[in-house]
């Protein structure tokens, strides 16, 4: 159904990160917000994306901002970087979603919800590392990869899933030896994202034991946060609730803390 060749074809089709985005990220890495804003202004699509993002209620900014310098100033280094990564991932989304009932708006809403809640988690854990902060941006790439690989195989998958409790990720892993998390890792590699970003996402599949304690703890929070999002109406109505398997045992020890932090406040 899905062969190794198709997987390699997909990996090879991942476009390099656009030059302007590289420049923006490079300036953000050296702490030069105004230079980053200047570079970003050269890409109208990115500019529009940022204008839309900061004016969303979820980011709780009081004033309607249009100026790109002002936007970067409001966001600050860490959040600006995370939003740039979200934008990069959104470049991979299909023009028309076929497998999942999504569109640009709903996909972006899932990204935003994850970003805002991940920020809350890291603040709670007193973690200020920018690369860890941005790692959440890579996670929704799993949805895009799943759509790309399975959209033409829906009939086969439906037949398989009619009588078997198999999620897309498991089918992919059993057929090709690679899963959606591995393919997120390939995207991170192609875009030269920091190692820790992909390490946390890779560990969040819940079967890695040979990772350091910090990555393992963060991966548990990421796993649970992802499934919190995949339980929300926007994701369930898109058919995302069971596209990947929830490893309930993996998150057992952080569940109560998660409940107090995320669920009590929402």
């Amino acid at each position: 159904m899905i062969t190794q060749e198709e997987i390699h074809e997909y990996i090879n089709s991942i476009p390099p990160s656009p030059k302007i985005l590289k420049e923006v990220l490079s300036h953000l890495n050296t702490g030069e917000l105004s230079k980053a804003a200047h570079s970003a202004a050269e890409d109208p699509a990115l500019k529009l994306y940022l204008q839309n993002i900061v004016n969303k209620p979820i980011y709780s900014f009081k004033n309607d901002v249009k100026d790109i310098n002002q936007i970067f100033g409001i966001l600050g280094l860490t959040q600006a970087k995370q939003i740039i990564y979200n934008y990069m991932i959104s470049l991979l989304t299909p023009k028309k979603w076929e497998l999942f009932d999504l569109n640009d708006k709903s996909f972006s809403e899932i990204q935003d919800n994850l970003s805002v809640q991940w920020k809350k988690v890291l603040e709670h854990k007193n973690i200020r590392d920018n690369d860890i902060f941005t790692s959440i941006s890579l996670l929704p790439a799993s949805i895009i990869v799943c759509e790309a690989l399975f959209k033409s195989k829906q009939d086969n998958v439906n037949l398989l899933r009619a009588s078997n409790d198999l999620d897309y990720n498991t089918i992919l892993q059993r057929l090709s030896g690679m899963d959606l998390y591995d393919l997120c890792y390939e995207i991170a590699k192609a875009w030269e994202l920091p190692d820790i970003t992909s390490a946390i996402v890779l560990a969040s599949k819940g079967d890695k034991e040979n990772v350091n304690e910090e990555i393992q703890t963060l991966s548990k929070w990421m796993h649970l946060l992802f499934f919190y999002q995949l339980s929300q109406p926007i994701a369930t109505s898109a058919g995302l609730n069971d596209f990947i398997e929830f490893n309930i045992e993996y998150v057992q020890d952080i569940y109560e803390e998660f409940q107090n932090l995320i669920m009590e406040e929402s």
Binding site: S163, N164, R174, L224, F227, S237, D242
Partner: protein
């Protein structure tokens, strides 16, 4: 969300967080209706991967399930929960629990209206519930489905017995029977199908008897049907007519219908004579049939030929042959990521060079087109074909046979979809598997069909389409 339907039990496997906001989009009435259309006996929501739930969320599901139960009599409830979740459910509903709870999916299958009986090799089932009336209800229902329940009379006794879990087929606890279905319980023992009936049999038997299942069983080659009637007090003329009609409709297939354990203390003897004239057979004990090999063979319960079913292949079926082959080849390729190739085709009886180290599965279809697809696999190919569904290699024959049943079910599902594109509507029967291919050969003896030999990574497997 789509339910997973296996052995006529539909299960919705939800993941994550379930509350009043998330529940309505997780499971909708459309999802339920689509599942019901698949002719199920039981509809459950699995709590296995639900990390959080509250009463508001659960209530939305329970209301949907109740509406199904009311309309169709399907058994509804929750399954796959741990101690903590069970305690929460108990707390939420307390004495108002009016749906069923099954600690595991495996336990739920024991209470399904139709189940596969393991015959004499099966072990007992340990049963425990704090409430004595639930304890009895669990034991009675299990017994009616051909199981051997052992009821623990105290928590202490249960705890002691549970330490030796290996001694039991299953341990039934933290399980509650709400409203059970109104369908007559059915079990399959070897090549016999046993229906359990009780009380006063009247016109209602026509509603509670699953005629579609019975017809499917005839189509797929079963010829021995036994009514376990030990608990029947009496019957009226409507029930007599029902049995007589069943016997005459089964005659075309060479089916034998037996009634076991029925006493005629409160039923006129003339009814018995009428039924015997219609072709029904009466036995005092179940063992008079199941343990008498000669009798079993004579009645068709040993997998022998179905004398009444030698219908010829017809042109319509042969015309659709390419779709059947294509469905088989595509499914093989989908499940294994390897190429399957057609070798040769012939019309005649099923012919195999050897039956050693082979397994087989079959599935019937009926409607605007009827027939049966049979697949014979070399053991190694069977194992490989099952890897995607099992997720690992296995030598466990029972697991392989179960998965082969799934496999042939997927093929039939694909055929159904392909035929629907041609506006040909068919339904499919439950799949059947054969550990001993000689049993299959005996079942299809003298039946003509189209045999296609296929090659899969150097080894051959056989496709046979017959009526």
């Amino acid at each position: 969300m789509r339910a997973i339907v296996k052995n006529r039990i539909g299960v919705f496997s939800l993941q994550g967080f379930l509350d009043g906001t998330t529940a309505p989009t997780m499971l909708t009435m459309e999802d339920i209706k689509a599942t019901q259309a698949l002719n199920i006996d039981m509809l459950l929501v699995s709590m296995k991967k639900v990390v959080f739930f509250n009463k508001n969320g659960l209530n939305i599901f329970i209301d949907l399930l109740h509406s199904v139960q009311k309309k169709s009599g399907t058994i509804v409830g929750l399954c796959d929960y741990d101690d903590k979740k069970y305690a929460a459910i108990q707390k939420f509903y307390n004495s108002n629990l009016n749906f069923s709870l099954f600690r595991t999916h495996k336990i739920a299958t024991l209470f399904s209206a139709s189940m596969q009986d393991k015959g004499e090799s099966k072990k007992s089932i340990l049963v425990w519930h704090e409430d004595p009336s639930q304890r009895s209800a669990l034991a009675i229902e299990l017994f009616d489905r051909g199981q051997n329940p052992i009821v623990a009379q105290s928590q202490k006794e249960f705890d002691e017995k549970k330490t030796q879990e290996d001694l039991y087929e299953a341990v039934v606890y933290q399980t509650f029977l709400g409203l059970l279905g109104s369908k007559i319980a059915t079990r399959v023992t070897g090549n016999a199908i046993i229906y359990s009936v009780g009380g006063f049999l009247d016109a209602e038997i026509s509603d509670s008897f699953d005629l579609t299942y019975h017809q499917n069983s005839l189509n797929v080659g079963f010829t021995l049907f036994i009514f376990d009637a030990y608990k029947v007090v009496s019957m009226n003329i409507h029930a007599v007519n029902f049995f007589a009609k069943l016997a005459s409709s089964g005659a075309e297939y060479g089916a034998n219908i037996c009634i076991v354990g029925m006493t005629f203390e409160k039923t006129p003897e003339t009814f018995k004579n009428e039924l015997e004239d219609a072709g029904l057979l009466f036995f005092t004990n179940m063992d008079d049939i199941l343990k008498d090999k000669e009798m079993l063979k004579e009645l068709g319960g040993s997998g022998g030929a179905t004398a009444g079913n030698k219908r010829a292949l017809n042109k319509v079926l042969v015309n659709e042959l390419p779709r059947f082959i294509s469905a088989t080849v595509n499914t093989m390729e989908m499940m294994t990521n390897a190429k399957a190739e057609k070798q040769d085709a012939s019309v005649g009886e099923l012919s195999l060079q050897s039956t050693k180290d082979k397994l087989a599965s079959s599935i019937g279809f009926y409607g605007q087109l009827d027939g049966m697809v049979i697949l014979v696999f070399p053991l190694e190919i069977a194992k490989k074909s099952c890897e995607l569904l099992l997720g690992e290699k296995t030598d466990n024959i029972e697991e392989i046979l179960d998965t082969l049943a799934e496999f042939v079910n997927i093929i039939a599902g694909r055929v159904k979809a392909l035929l629907a594109e041609q506006s040909i509507s068919v339904d499919i029967t439950l799949p059947r598997t054969y550990e001993n291919v000689d049993d299959l050969l005996a079942t299809v003896e003298k039946r003509k069909g189209v045999q296609v030999n296929l090659n899969f990574e150097g080894e051959g497997f056989t496709f046979f389409l017959t009526r």
